[in-house]
């Protein structure tokens, strides 16, 4: 079959690879009908996530049709149309029972590597390095889905692929980021990054009762989308001197009640600390650039919440824990527990309360994956979200 393979930093190509096979009784094989490139895939693309190997199949946002199930999987049958959470979860361990499926104890075959790095291992992830299990991803014609009996969710035929595809990652991720803000009536939520997760966090923040949402970015097209698609106020950080001061002035001197860092470990910035991060990351003295989260901590009102859906992988330099402590902030973060949001968010989609399709800027065949990664990384052609079709 054809699949988008990682061959090295900034080198993604579509190649012929062996078809996936059922390995365990709870598996399913899914014929992929739609798959998207995630902002977090760009961390892989740029080579800042360790333990990638040449030839690894990328992709953790995908859906399609079940074509084969393992002997122990009675929840699915061939022909089912399903969405698949990016985090792989057994559904049976203590974490899964608690609804913390991205912390599943049993789904990472390389847990030892993650334990060495983080103390404990989270769940395995599709197409996201060997640290997270080395599972081949879904930017391919076919994909093996482990624990598919608890993971893959059948979706109604009345909804299009694009309407439900983002249930696999960015919609629940944006939603959980907003939920973690513990929004109360009258709250202002500031969101760093108007990429897909940021945009969906903005929409979710309104859905959860926020009074105002402020989008912070530097890409005009994305800020326009935040305004038109998510009804957010915008802040172009390259056009003002001091983001923290600007946010203070816009919120009556109080600061935002909650701040969301939807940028993550490759945040861009124009201030001295951002340039310093860039230099250190470039020569591998630090793994993560943290400009966005620093600013979020600085800007947040006293007693507020900083919610971090953006991905971090290693060590942060100059992390302002003092400011977080002095203001009594709550920090919320982590991979999304997609499984527990699937059904409620599917209902929001069916009722029309949540529509994520406005983020899609490009619909291409899988064969153009190499070009798609380059375009998404360079943000050319006003690219916000690329959906790839392996059947074309």
């Amino acid at each position: 079959m054809r699949a988008a393979c990682w061959l090295g930093p900034r080198d993604v190509r579509v190649r012929d690879v062996p078809d996936p096979e059922i390995l365990n009784a709870r598996d399913a094989i899914v014929k992929v009908t739609a798959t998207a490139i995630c902002g977090s895939d760009l961390h892989l693309y740029n080579g800042v996530i360790p333990t990638m190997r040449s030839g690894d199949v990328l992709g953790h946002e995908f859906m399609g049709e079940v074509v084969e199930v393992g002997a122990g999987n009675s929840a699915l049958k061939p022909g089912d149309r399903v969405v698949v959470p990016f985090a792989i979860a057994c559904g049976a361990c203590w974490y899964c029972r608690e609804g913390l499926t991205s912390l599943c104890d049993n789904s990472n075959p390389n847990a030892r590597l993650a334990e060495a790095l983080y103390g404990f291992s989270g769940s395995g992830l599709f197409g996201y390095s060997h640290l997270y299990g080395g599972y081949p991803g879904g930017q391919a014609e076919y994909v093996r889905v482990p624990f598919a009996d608890t993971g893959a969710l059948p979706v109604p035929p009345t909804l299009s692929d694009e309407q439900v595809l983002f249930l696999t990652d960015i919609l629940p991720t944006g939603y959980m980021a907003a939920e973690n803000c513990r929004i109360r009536p009258g709250d202002t939520v500031a969101v760093w990054g108007s990429g897909p997760v940021g945009l969906l966090a903005m929409k979710s923040a309104y859905l959860l009762g926020a009074d105002r949402v402020i989008a912070i970015d530097r890409w005009p097209a994305r800020l326009r989308l935040a305004e038109s698609g998510a009804k957010a106020e915008t802040l172009h950080y390259e056009e003002i001197d001091d983001v923290v001061e600007e946010l203070k002035q816009r919120t009556g001197g109080r600061g935002p009640d909650a701040c969301i860092d939807a940028a993550g470990m490759e945040a861009h910035g124009t201030t001295l600390d951002a340039l310093y991060d860039r230099a250190k990351q470039a020569v591998r003295l630090a793994t993560d650039r943290s400009h966005a989260v620093r600013q979020a901590i600085q800007a947040c009102r006293k007693g507020g919440t900083v919610s971090i859906p953006g991905v971090y992988g290693g060590f942060l330099d100059k992390f302002p824990l003092g400011a977080a402590f002095a203001k009594g902030l709550t920090l919320q973060m982590g991979q999304t527990h997609v499984h527990r949001y699937l059904r409620p968010l599917l209902q929001h989609i069916e009722s029309g309360r949540l529509d994520a399709t406005f983020i899609v800027s490009h619909r291409w065949p899988l064969s153009r994956a190499s070009e798609a990664y380059r375009m998404f990384n360079d943000k050319t052609d006003d690219c916000t979200k690329i959906v790839l079709d392996p059947t074309r």
Binding site: N106, A111, R112
Partner: protein, 220 residues
């Protein structure tokens, strides 16, 4: 709110005692030993099985599994099925009574072998064993099943002491058990937990992936 409790005299003495022991062990050596990935240093305790002459290396690992002690004991007690979960075991054959024959996948195609005897068997609580006779590896160990607090399942603790018979294998036991026996036990317990909770052992690719993951686990 919890009040700070006064430390009893007995507790204080124990802490001072531990401090002295630590200092005697040599803080530098302790730090060095702990810095080595996944290695732990154990003080000899009464529940650690001893080999003849008090020699041998020790491994101790605990994992919490969301199943009852009875279920976990029953699965482990089925000795002949253990190689399914522990790829370094070639086979276990129950010889009758409390005796069993253990064959390990050694380096360079060798198959170190020993006979073991169950010396402690408390259903739902404990299985303890030791090697008997003139086997290739002298060893003794136990697995204990203890209910965890607050519906968290069962704490499964493995304690193992082992020593290769002098000159028998021509290689260190470290090679026999991979990079470290400690790591091997940890992976065994991980697979046991996966089997008992998720009904299967997680795999990202086969068979290359499985061996690769093991290789990574060893070299990591």
């Amino acid at each position: 709110m919890r009040r700070p409790q006064k430390r009893s005299r007995a507790d204080g003495t124990r802490i001072v005692g531990a401090g002295v022991l630590l200092a005697l062990a040599g803080a530098g050596a302790w730090a060095l030993a702990n810095a080595r990935q996944g290695r732990r240093v154990f003080k000899r305790r009464p529940d650690m099985p001893a080999l003849a002459g008090g020699q041998g290396s020790h491994v101790e690992r605990t994992v919490t599994i969301l199943r009852s002690p009875t279920e976990l004991y029953a699965e482990w007690r089925d000795l002949e099925r253990l190689p399914e979960l522990m790829p370094h075991l070639d086979s276990v054959t129950v010889l009758g009574g409390t005796r069993s024959l253990w064959v390990v996948r050694g380096p360079a195609g060798t198959r170190p072998t020993w006979e073991a005897e169950i010396v402690g068997d408390e259903p739902g609580r404990l299985i303890a064993w030791r090697s008997v006779g003139d086997g290739d590896v002298e060893n003794a160990g136990s697995v204990r099943f203890t209910p965890a607090a607050g519906d968290r399942g069962t704490e499964v603790k493995v304690i193992l002491t082992y020593a290769p018979r002098a000159g028998r294998l021509g290689v260190g036991l470290a090679t026999l058990f991979g990079a470290s026996a400690d790591q091997e036990v940890r992976e065994d317990l991980r697979r046991f937990k996966q089997r008992m909770e998720a009904n299967e052992v997680a795999a990202s690719a086969a068979p290359r992936g499985a061996s690769e993951a093991r290789e990574m686990a060893r070299s990591g």
